[in-house]
C-alpha cells in the first residue's frame, strides 16, 4: 500500500487526500448540525417562556389531542397527557435530561473503557490476558442482567443509571481501543521514539493516545446512542428516570397506560428518540470510517 502511494507524485497525493477529507468533513458537518440544533433547542426553548410549564397539571384538560386533530388547539400543540400536562413542553424539557444522560452515559463508559483498552493493548502480557478475559465475560452478560443486578441492590436513581451505563459500555470500547493500541504499538514511529530514548509513559500519552482520539470520539458518539436507548428502556420499565423527573423514556412509560386512547403521548417522545439516535449512529459511523487508523494508513 505504502509502496504504491510512494510512487504517486506528492502534489497529486496531497490533492487527493485533501479532497477526500473535505468530503468526509462535509458529511460529518451535516450530521452534527441537526444534533447540535436539537441540543440548543431543548436547552434554550424553556428559557424563552414560549412553552407551557411541563409540570403544570390540568385535570379538566386531560388527553387533549394535538392541534392537527379534531378538538386540538394551539394551547397544547402536541396535546396533553393523562394529567393534562403539555406534551410539547414535556418533550423539550425531557430532551434536556435524555441528552444529558446520553452524553454523561457515553463519557462514563468511554473513559474507563479507553484506559483499560489502551493499557491492555499497549502493555500486552498478563495485563492483556486478564483484560481480554474480563471483556469476554462482560460481553457475555446481556446488559439487562447487569442492569437488574445493580438496580436490585441499589434501587433506581440517576447515579445508578450512570453506573449501569458504565458497567455495560466499557467493554465494547475497551475491545476496540485495545486492538487499535496494539496496531499502533507495532508502528515504526513508536520503535523510533523508543530508540531515541523516549519513556513508555511518554510514548503512550503523547503519541499513542493522540492517534486514538479520532477512534475514541467516534466510539463515544455511538455510545451516546446506546446510552439514550438504555435510558429509555429502563425508564420505560420504571427502573431509570421516574416522575417527577421528565425524560423521553419516562414519557413513554406514562404514554403506555393511555396508548389506545391517546396515541400522541407515547408517539412523540418515541419519534424524538428514534431521530436523535439515528443521527447519532450515522455521525458515529461517519467518524469511525474517517478515523480508523487501520483503514487509513496515511
Amino acid at each position: 500500500m505504502t509502496q504504491l502511494d510512494a510512487k504517486v507524485p506528492t502534489i497529486v497525493a496531497t490533492e487527493h487526500v485533501a479532497r477526500a477529507r473535505r468530503r468526509r468533513r462535509t458529511s460529518v458537518f451535516w450530521l452534527a448540525l441537526p444534533l447540535v440544533a436539537i441540543a440548543v433547542l431543548v436547552v434554550v426553548l424553556p428559557m424563552t417562556g414560549l412553552l407551557a410549564d411541563p409540570r403544570q397539571t390540568d385535570l379538566d384538560n386531560t388527553l387533549a389531542p394535538p392541534v392537527f386533530l379534531d378538538g386540538g388547539s394551539w394551547d397544547n400543540p402536541l396535546g396533553t397527557d393523562k394529567l393534562g400536562q403539555d406534551v410539547l413542553a414535556q418533550l423539550v424539557v425531557g430532551g434536556r435530561l435524555t441528552l444529558f444522560i446520553g452524553l454523561v452515559g457515553a463519557l462514563v463508559a468511554i473513559g474507563p473503557g479507553t484506559l483499560i483498552g489502551v493499557l491492555a493493548g499497549y502493555c500486552r502480557g498478563w495485563v492483556d490476558l486478564v483484560v481480554s478475559r474480563l471483556i469476554d465475560a462482560q460481553l457475555a452478560l446481556p446488559f439487562i442482567l447487569i442492569a437488574l443486578a445493580v438496580i436490585s441492590s441499589q434501587g433506581s436513581s440517576l447515579p445508578v443509571l450512570f453506573l449501569v451505563l458504565a458497567l455495560t459500555g466499557w467493554a465494547a470500547c475497551a475491545r476496540v481501543t485495545r486492538s487499535v493500541a496494539m496496531t499502533l504499538r507495532e508502528r515504526q514511529f513508536v520503535l523510533g521514539l523508543r530508540a531515541a530514548g523516549a519513556s513508555e509513559p511518554r510514548i503512550v500519552l503523547r503519541h499513542v493516545v493522540p492517534n486514538l482520539v479520532g477512534t475514541i470520539v467516534a466510539l463515544g458518539t455511538l455510545q451516546i446512542g446506546t446510552a439514550i436507548l438504555v435510558e429509555s428502556a429502563l425508564s420505560f420499565l420504571g427502573l431509570g428516570v421516574v416522575p417527577p423527573d421528565i425524560s423521553w423514556g419516562a414519557m413513554l412509560a406514562s404514554g403506555q397506560d393511555v396508548l389506545s386512547r391517546a396515541w400522541w403521548v407515547a408517539t412523540f417522545p418515541g419519534l424524538a428518540i428514534t431521530v436523535v439516535v439515528l443521527l447519532v449512529n450515522l455521525l458515529g459511523d461517519a467518524l469511525l470510517t474517517h478515523h480508523d487508523p487501520r483503514k487509513r494508513r496515511r
Binding site: A137, P142, L148, S152, Q154, Q256, N281
Partner: protein, 307 residues
C-alpha cells in the same frame, strides 16, 4: 486431526469455565455493591430486628468470603435459593417461565434471519444501487428505534386501529405475532448489515470470478460459494444477538404482558425479591457463556481454516 480437535475443544472448555466463573463472580459483586441489600429490600421503615432476621435468612450475616463460597456452591449444585415473595424455589419459577421467553426469542430470531439474510445478500449483490441504500438505511433505522416503542406502535396499528391481532397476553399463535415481529427488528438490522459486509467481501474473492468463469449460474455462485463462506460471522452474530434479544425481551414482554422471564424479573425487582433477581441474573449469565462457547466450537467444526 481429531486429536487437534480434542485439544482445541479442551482449551475452549477451559476458557469457557474461566469466563463463566468471571461472569458469575461479576453478578455476585454487582449484587453486593451496596454492601447490604436488606436496607433496599425492606425500605427505610424497617426495624433492626427485621433487618437481622432477613440478613440471617439470606446468609448476609456471614463474611463476604463465606457468602461467595456458598453462592458458588449453590450454582454448582443447581440450588438457586428461594424467592422472598413466592416462597418457591427460584429455579422452578425460572424454568416455568423460560419456555415463554424461548418461544419469543426463537420466533424473533427466525424472523430476523429469514428477512435479514436475504436483505443483506440483496444489498451485497447490488452494491451501490438503490436496493443497497434502502436496505442499509432500513438496517440503520432498525438499530435506532427503541424496540418496545415499536411494539407500542404495532399495537396501536394492528390491535387498536385494525383489530387484526391481540394486543397482549399469550395463548394462540396470533398472540405471538406482534411480540415476535417486534423482537426481530434489532437483530434483523444487525444480521442484514453483517451479511452485507461479509458477503461483499467474499464476492470480491477471486474464486467467485473463477466459479463464474466455469459457467456456473450467478445465483448458485452467490448462494453456494458466496454465502457458504460468508455465513460464519452471521452465525456468530445470530447467537450473540440472542443476548441483546433477551435485553429487549424484558421491555417487549412488559408491553405485550407476555408471561416470560422478563416479566418475572420485573416483578422480582418491584417486590425487591433479591434472591430471585440474583437467580435470574446467574441463570442468564450461565446460559450466555455456554451459548458463546458453543458458537466458538461450532466455528471450528465448520471452518477448516480455524483448525
Amino acid at each position: 486431526m481429531s486429536r487437534v480437535l480434542v485439544r482445541k475443544g479442551l482449551r475452549h472448555l477451559g476458557a469457557a469455565l474461566i469466563t463463566l466463573w468471571l461472569a458469575v463472580t461479576m453478578a455476585f459483586a454487582l449484587g453486593r455493591l451496596s454492601g447490604d441489600p436488606t436496607s433496599n429490600i425492606l425500605g427505610p421503615m424497617a426495624t433492626p430486628e427485621q433487618r437481622d432476621a432477613l440478613q440471617a435468612q439470606l446468609g448476609l450475616d456471614q463474611s463476604l468470603v463465606v457468602q461467595y463460597l456458598d453462592y458458588l456452591k449453590g450454582i454448582v449444585t443447581l440450588d438457586f435459593g428461594t424467592s422472598l415473595q413466592f416462597y418457591q424455589p427460584n429455579l422452578d419459577m425460572i424454568l416455568d417461565r423460560l419456555p415463554f421467553t424461548l418461544q419469543l426469542v426463537g420466533a424473533g430470531m427466525a424472523i430476523a434471519v429469514a428477512i435479514g439474510v436475504p436483505l443483506g445478500v440483496l444489498a451485497a449483490t447490488r452494491e451501490g444501487t438503490w436496493w443497497d441504500r434502502t436496505a442499509s438505511a432500513l438496517a440503520l433505522l432498525g438499530q435506532s428505534v427503541p424496540v418496545f416503542w415499536l411494539g407500542m406502535m404495532l399495537i396501536l396499528l394492528f390491535a387498536v386501529r385494525l383489530g387484526w391481532l391481540p394486543a397482549g397476553q399469550s395463548g394462540s399463535w396470533q398472540h405471538l405475532v406482534l411480540p415476535a415481529v417486534t423482537m426481530s427488528l434489532y437483530p434483523m438490522a444487525h444480521v442484514a448489515r453483517l451479511t452485507r459486509a461479509s458477503m461483499s467481501e467474499v464476492l470480491r474473492e477471486p474464486y467467485i470470478d473463477s466459479a463464474r468463469a466455469r459457467g456456473l449460474r450467478v445465483r448458485s455462485v452467490v448462494w453456494r460459494h458466496g454465502f457458504g463462506n460468508a455465513s460464519a460471522p452471521v452465525l456468530t452474530i445470530v447467537v450473540l444477538q440472542a443476548g441483546a434479544l433477551l435485553s429487549g425481551a424484558v421491555a417487549v414482554e412488559y408491553v405485550y404482558s407476555w408471561p416470560g422471564l422478563g416479566q418475572l424479573a420485573l416483578q422480582a425487582i418491584q417486590f425487591r425479591d433479591f434472591p430471585l433477581v440474583q437467580a435470574i441474573v446467574v441463570f442468564g449469565a450461565i446460559t450466555f457463556v455456554v451459548l458463546n462457547q458453543l458458537v466458538d466450537m461450532l466455528h471450528v467444526a465448520i471452518d477448516p481454516r480455524l483448525r
